[in-house]
Symmetry: C2
Subunit: 461 residues, 2 copies
């Protein structure tokens, strides 16, 4: 008999009623009565886990009653109407075979564990309901992102991870070497013949491909050697960086808005059970945290668009007692983003035309000589989710700005040359994938949306 | 008027006949006659590039005739029947506006350049027909891989790139550090509090997720600090590593075969123009190299399955004068793979049950005490394309083997523990993405299927 997944069982539940099926997976919980038993069974292919019921007529009844939580089993049985919930499959077992035992001291007993404890047993936590939900959302959202771009003619580009560029200024990068400290000190030649580090962005290389394919995107890991132990920083995370030729700042905002709503809608559609669980989980296990409502509202919203100056004016006029006083020409703070999205606009907001002194060298310099054509998308409940800009395409303006900031135009000659060789108005944005996932799942620590997080003093598994 | 892409133009060519359209892209070639001109136009969204025709009636005729190869332009004009080829779109221009100029000394003039020269101008080569074909195949194949797994219920897992494990034995890894040589020598604490390197595989972490989701896959970068300057080695490349619970070696071969044929078929279907070009390109620009025929044959083939011992017997009986003499218990050479696939079986071959001494510690040890349940898939024209195995699931056998090979079971306790906590028969394989791309495109140097290759002494762009 062919084994079916619990996903197939759920999808074809009506059709399979009364049929014999075989399932393979693990015991999440095992409740025993004198003459029968109930196994919460999962194989990880869907969030709706079937209940396996057996009674004293089953062969090896006593051995089966002794099966411990965590064990791998093969179940053969009949699909029967569910006792309590018609959408939860139930299987009346004719046989249960132990595939892999699990000891009494298995760390993942069926009770509520602290999220910190689960981090310590990171290799087992994907078996919990929380992380089954989180990591399926991660997978589904990844696919939604690929589908969005591929359906619209974007070419997926794998930009390099090891780089000799220093795109966003010195510091905060990991050195990559094959030399021992002694060899380094002796001036021996390193693997690449020059200093190399892990990339903090693929944008610059992405631009070279946008100047050939018009629409491209990257989706790969990036690295920051930032020594900050916060809930939102990881040393290694995944980033999405689309780059679009013949596209200005306004058109970029159109793309960002359409993209984000599409991803959120797709996850809402494909992961209803996972999101329902996460919604309640974020509320401490009872009621709703408003997660699904928030996502639905975003999918249906229209993003407001204001300049940085307008944002500051709104903040100044708010009558609020700010911890950080909003100022023209200055960066905004978390509390400002929160006010704009949650209290003033009640929805997502694009803030564009940022002071050039707080933004990167490659951004298009506006005529006011003070701002650049950069845009941040702020969303309720999370703050900044994406950052993008129209790129500086004027050769003289670009090199002048690089010089001001001490960035060598010579070492980036290939990037600068894009402005000489058939350059055009182009724009792109970056989105940290884990930031999106925290937004989608309501999970508030980046360590819990990455399979194995890398943070200062932590490189386990 | 809305701009359309050349992809839309191609797809809706019949419908757009006689209509006015606007296109934005670049000049690949510009041929001029006294009273008219012809522009080979591309925007990178499809391989079938339209020809733009203009005559002396166009405004600024002289300025337009002066437009140089490489320039970015906006073309507005009427879609007209094509003079030579009904499937190649032609646009009679009413206006051509220069968006970005390109100088006389633009390196990418319309002539055949050596592939070595194109590597030197790696940031411009995506604009050539060869690399338009290669990198679109790369993007389409990436999506085909994601689609294959997601459609079959696999969860996409991002395994870590920075690791403190040493999965495949010491050496050949890049060190990752934030310390200077002096700080290292002084014993200062590094970012992660212990030595870290770039991952050579995500398999071990992948197994932890397979024990929770049943079917998972990775698709991400991996690294080898191997100092070999060959056509097939890169320091950074992308790898696909599926891992499947409740799966043995036979079932794994079924998955590998179905997967590979699916990807090849999808690329054949989605990239006919690109593959036709690559087929001819690999033949030196004339006739066919047999690329498309080879791919079609693979898609229609049935993979042979033989043990390593059987393979050696076939090789010994071949009557061939081998450079490397085939021996039971020894690895096979390129010439052997070529003979098996191209001369003996005329198709793809799985070779399984390999001598355990030449394979990794985590592979299932067969009862003969000599072989492991490992399998390599060999394909005509490329040799090994995938390598997989059933995993050793018996705790004692695994730790015994680790001890023999000097691999610390303590440092990999989480991996070893998978065998204690509800372990089950499971299997997985790895496929180097660039190896697949070389097979799909007929391009014979790995440097030419990666946007920006990292090899010894080379870390440009």
């Amino acid at each position: 008999m062919n084994v079916i997944t619990t996903l197939e069982l759920k999808d074809r539940l009506a059709q399979l009623q009364g049929q014999t099926v075989r399932l393979q997976g693990w015991i999440r919980n095992h409740r025993k009565q004198k003459s029968m038993g109930f196994i919460d069974f999962f194989d990880g292919t869907c969030f709706k886990n079937p209940q396996v019921v057996y009674d004293a007529n089953i062969a090896d009844f006593e051995a089966i009653q002794a099966l411990r939580v965590g064990s791998a089993i093969t179940v053969t049985g009949t699909v029967v109407p569910s006792y309590k919930d018609p959408t939860t499959p139930e299987v009346q077992a004719a046989s249960i075979v132990l595939e892999g035992d699990c000891p009494e001291d298995y760390p993942l007993q069926p009770k509520r564990h602290s999220i910190e404890f689960l981090r310590e047993i990171g290799y087992l936590r994907p078996r919990t309901r929380l992380f089954q939900a989180v990591f399926r959302v991660r997978s589904v959202a990844s696919m939604a992102i690929h589908t969005y771009f591929q359906d619209r003619g974007y070419v997926y580009v794998h930009t390099p991870l090891i780089t000799a560029n220093d795109a966003e200024g010195a510091g905060n990068t990991f050195t990559v070497t094959t030399l021992t400290p002694d060899q380094q000190k002796a001036g021996e030649t390193d693997f690449f013949g020059k200093p190399a580090s892990l990339a903090v962005t693929g944008q610059l290389e992405g631009e070279t491909f946008a100047m050939a394919f018009s629409k491209i995107y990257t989706f790969g890991p990036t690295f920051r050697a930032e020594n900050s132990n916060t809930k939102t920083h990881a040393a290694e995370f995944w980033m999405i960086e689309p780059e679009i030729a013949f596209c200005d700042l306004d058109q970029l905002m159109d793309v960002e808005e359409d993209f984000l709503k599409n991803i959120v809608s797709t996850v809402l559609e494909k992961c209803p059970d996972e999101l329902a669980f996460l919604d309640t989980f974020a509320a401490g296990g009872k009621g709703t945290s408003g997660l699904v409502e928030k996502l639905q509202a975003l999918a249906d919203s229209k993003c407001a668009r204001i300049t940085h100056d307008e944002a500051i004016t709104i903040l100044k006029n708010s009558g609020k007692d700010w911890q950080f006083k909003p100022e023209y020409g200055q960066d905004t703070a978390k509390e400002h983003e929160k006010y704009l999205t949650e209290e003033y606009f009640h929805g997502p907001v694009f803030v564009y035309n940022w002071p050039k002194d707080i933004k990167a060298f490659y951004m298009y310099q506006n005529d006011d000589d003070k701002t650049v054509a950069a845009v941040d998308l702020l969303v309720p409940g999370s703050g900044e989710l994406m950052g993008g800009s129209q790129r500086e395409t004027r050769l003289d303006k670009l090199t002048e700005r690089m010089e001001q900031l001490g960035i060598s135009a010579e070492s980036l000659d290939w990037y600068v040359n894009l402005r000489k060789f058939g350059g055009c108005t182009h724009a792109g944005f970056g989105m940290g994938f884990e930031r999106l996932l925290m937004y989608l799942t309501g999970v508030d620590n980046i360590r819990d949306v990455i399979p194995y997080a890398r943070t200062p003093m932590n490189c386990e598994f």
